[in-house]
Amino acid sequence: MSTTLDTNLTRKRFRGRLIISLIILFVFGNSGCSAGKPPTESLSKAELDLRAASEARADEFAPMDLQSAREKFEASRKAMAAKNYDQARRLAEIAQVEAELAAAKAEAELTRRAAEDLRRRIDSLRGESERGSIPGPSPAAAKE
């Protein structure tokens, strides 16, 4: 009788430990999976943002930001190849935001220049029309 009781207790304890172990395994396994997932999406997004920055003429108007973004992108690819996924994700996210910044700066500079250009043209047109409205010396007066 006591042997049966002992066996039951041992079984219960074993089952309890098994459940706890499974829970621990599940939690750690899951966190491990999420931390170790290859950041392919972040990397593709960074590549797209870099392309958009180049199209926005960031090479010309925000070269330092674009260069930094490109370096982060390359470093992210290297970290990805080395299966250092956390670092790869962070670097890809930085590449994204720096490429976005390069594009924003380039667009701002281009628009500012366009506004300045327009203002200059308006000023010169205004100057021409003002000169045109002032009567110059008549040819007769010029002869004298």
Binding site: R90, E93, I94, V97, E98, E100, L101, A104, K105, E107, A108, T111, R112, A114, A115, L118, R119, R121, I122, L125
Partner: protein, 116 residues
């Protein structure tokens, strides 16, 4: 006997350093990178040009800052917090550039009728 253990110079110094370590350690709940990002965001939020012309870009900065604050409160993951703080600062710079672009675009719109 006159040199009791608590009066021993080295012991006193060690105890004081230990106490200072714990006090400062407990008090140092702030992350410098996070503080910088928070300050930068608060400054941007008070800039009427940014609020008026780049609200969406500024909101993206706010969301990243909130994520950084959450990671700091819940996990104290210094690397991730510094990463998110850096992204917050870049997002604020994007908001600033966006505001500059919109201002120039508004100038163009105002100047165009004068050209005709």
């Amino acid at each position: 006997m006159g040199r009791g253990i608590f009066l021993h110079g080295r012991t006193v110094r060690a105890t004081l350093s230990l106490a200072a370590f714990f006090i400062l350690g407990c008090g140092a709940v702030n992350n410098p990178a996070l503080e910088r990002a928070r300050d930068a965001y608060n400054r941007a939020r008070q800039d009427r040009e940014i609020v008026g012309r780049a609200a969406v870009a500024l909101d993206k900065a706010r969301l990243t800052l909130e994520r950084a604050e959450r990671v700091w409160t819940e996990d104290k993951d210094v690397i991730e917090v510094e990463h998110l703080a850096y992204i917050t600062e870049k997002r604020i710079e994007i908001a600033r550039a966006t505001a500059r672009r919109r201002l120039a675009a508004d100038d163009i719109q105002q100047l165009n009728p004068q050209r005709e």
